[in-house]
């Protein structure tokens, strides 16, 4: 195989590049990368492009394997990868979705002016920390039985509505209304159920967070108005997923499907790309279980939203005019599902895998809430604690070029051990405090691992997707309060 250098890419436009399937004998489709030249060159420093080439060998792939500019090396698939397979002849791959099934981001708007709330931000940080369970080993406050959990992971965020933890507006402003059809708890192991019972409604640790931001700049007045975003106002982001429930489902099926690749004669360049034909019993079982994981994650973010509302009320009621939180949108960035997309000029139903990539449906797409029909779906791009986050929208170009997908964040550039060697958690804490950012973290070592310098420049990532036309800018956010588990 030729070495992976810039020479192997055909430049389609300033922000779009392709590797032809001729590059390696086992490739079935091209690899299409959305990135500036600088980000593409940077990505050649790890194995992310090689992993996209490996992913392009899966049976039944359509059009191309896409890679977003926040790509970084994963296992099997790269983080930032998007792949679509034919429901009749293609495969479903747990590795193309990830262990944290439906890890995603939720954005809540407020009408609170940052200046009005500034003096209360330390109280707000303390209340969020108190109300929202976070950190290693911190468990659920719900204590659901296995039967109740089975019902909850079929119902998704809708379960929270029945229990009084969600509004209709919340559900309507969640990808797929917070519930994937076809979830089958019978396909979920007892182990996954046990991990799920103890962790529902918790944030977790690592790169998961709750962040209160101020809207620093609006780029699209009309889209921002429709989303309820006003310059100078506070918004809140929640980044978490399906916790140990999803991790165990993925672990179980990565193991089980090792046998399926032999059974169906699938040759893989990396065992972690393990997959099964969508129509096979193994593929159908994984889909049923994975949807439970996805629904659990929608519900998890909904339950944290309920706790956040309580925290805002406790910290700000009587101190600001209106402390209510309104859902802007909730999106998944690790998921597999069936969608309709343009393939070779024809609209077709495909099985889409997004791993570290966000759905980015353009204006007029099916499945959007009525108020977003003309502006496209909000795309939420969190930054890295001390840096900006972005609100974008999907475009017509994303529907044509990237299976309605865009980037999901900043993407790591530094290993966790390197970050810990070079950055002292306490120093980082003080530095962020000096910048006016309130931090609550489970551990200083964990904080150092997640330092802003361990990530790519999120602004460059956003310039790449906007330059490629697969997203459009709406608002830039600046962090004020960060809660890390």
């Amino acid at each position: 195989m030729t070495a992976l250098t810039l020479d192997v890419f055909q430049q389609i436009s300033e922000f779009e590049w392709e590797i032809s399937p001729d590059f390696r004998e086992d490739m079935r489709v091209p690899v299409r990368v959305f990135a500036s030249k600088a980000l593409l060159l940077e990505s050649l420093g790890d194995k992310s492009i090689l992993q996209a080439v490996n992913a392009s060998t899966l049976p039944g792939l359509l059009e191309a394997v896409m890679v977003m500019p926040d790509m970084h090396q994963g296992y099997g698939f790269p983080i930032g990868g998007v792949a679509a397979t034919d429901p009749e002849t293609g495969v479903i791959s747990p590795g193309g979705i990830g262990y944290d099934i439906n890890c995603g981001v939720r954005l809540l708007s407020t009408s609170i002016k940052a200046d009005e709330a500034r003096e209360w931000l330390p109280d707000l940080a303390a209340m969020i920390n108190q109300f929202c369970p976070s950190g290693v080993g911190v468990g659920s406050q719900l204590h659901l039985s296995k039967q109740e959990l089975a019902k909850a992971c079929v119902e998704g965020a809708r379960w929270a509505k029945a229990e009084g933890y969600a509004t209709d507006h919340d559900l309507n402003h969640t990808e797929d209304n917070g519930r994937l059809e076809g979830a089958d708890p019978e396909k979920v192991s007892d182990r996954a159920m046990s991990r799920g019972q103890s962790q529902l409604g918790t944030l977790g640790a690592g790169n998961h967070f709750i962040e209160v931001d101020v809207i620093a700049k609006i780029f699209d007045d009309e889209a921002a108005r429709i989303m309820g975003l006003r310059e100078g106002n506070l918004v809140v982001q929640i980044h978490t997923g399906s916790r140990g429930f999803g991790h165990q489902i993925c672990t179980d099926y990565v193991r089980r499907l090792q046998g399926a690749i032999q059974k169906y004669g699938i040759v893989l360049p990396d065992k972690q790309l393990v997959c099964a034909p969508i129509k096979s019993p193994e593929g159908q079982d994984y889909l049923g279980a994975m949807r439970c994981g996805a629904n659990y994650a929608f519900l998890n973010r909904q339950l944290l939203t309920h706790k956040l509302r309580q925290a805002f009320e406790s910290a700000l009621a009587g101190k600001v005019k209106d402390w209510h939180l309104t859902q802007v949108y909730d999106i998944a960035h690790n998921i597999g599902k069936f969608e309709s997309h343009l393939v070779d000029g024809e609209q077709r139903r495909v099985c889409i895998h997004r791993k570290g990539a966000t759905r980015a449906f353009g204006p007029g797409s099916a499945g959007l809430p009525e108020d977003y029909a003309d502006i496209g779906q909000p795309v939420l791009v969190p930054g890295s604690m001390g840096t900006a986050s972005w609100v974008l929208t999907g475009t017509e170009t994303s529907m044509q070029r990237s299976f309605g997908s865009s980037c999901h964040g900043a993407g790591r550039v530094m290993s966790r051990s390197e970050a810990k060697r070079g950055i002292w958690g306490e120093d980082l804490f003080k530095r962020l405090k000096k910048q006016g950012i309130e931090i609550r973290a489970g551990s200083m070592a964990g904080l150092a691992e997640e330092a802003p310098e361990a990530y790519k420049d999120v602004d460059q990532v956003v310039e790449s997707v906007v330059g490629a036309g697969i997203a459009s800018k709406v608002a830039r956010l600046h962090p004020l309060v960060v809660i890390k588990g």
Partner: protein, 135 residues
């Protein structure tokens, strides 16, 4: 380099370990100790408990992943950390007797043990493996 041990490897997004041992059982033990090290797991001082579990026979790589996933589940579900292991092989399974007690501290969550680029190789007089963990 000693005959048995582990070391953390650089990995941009996740965590990786190199583990080595004079035989497969020692490699499994070192992988367990390295795994607990990555988690920042600190074992309590209570009396030892014995847990017995079985791993289905398969390739050495799949046994290693299954073994670590078993330990991961027991840390998450019951906060159990083990300091010693006794292995008994049969035609169908590897039976593991694990000795330890509840953890008193855990610094990090590990989501899963992966098969990514996992290969157990004979290097000189020892077995070596590189294991990637999703965090």
């Amino acid at each position: 380099m000693s005959l048995n041990g582990y070391e953390e490897l650089e990995h941009i997004a996740d965590l990786a370990l190199k583990v080595w041992g004079e035989d497969f059982e020692t490699l499994l033990r070192q992988a367990a100790f390295g795994f607990y090290h990555l988690m920042g797991a600190e074992i309590g001082s209570g009396p030892d408990t014995e847990e017995v579990f079985t791993i289905p026979q398969g390739s050495r790589e799949s046994i290693l992943v299954d073994f670590l996933n078993e330990l991961l589940f027991m840390v998450e579900d019951a906060q159990m950390i083990f300091h010693d292991f006794v292995f008994e092989r049969s035609e169908r399974a590897l039976t593991v007797r694990a000795f330890g007690c509840k953890s008193v501290a855990l610094e990090r969550t590990i989501k899963a043990v992966t098969f990514h680029e996992l290969e157990i190789e004979q290097v000189g007089n020892r077995l070596e493996a590189r294991i990637t963990f999703d965090v």
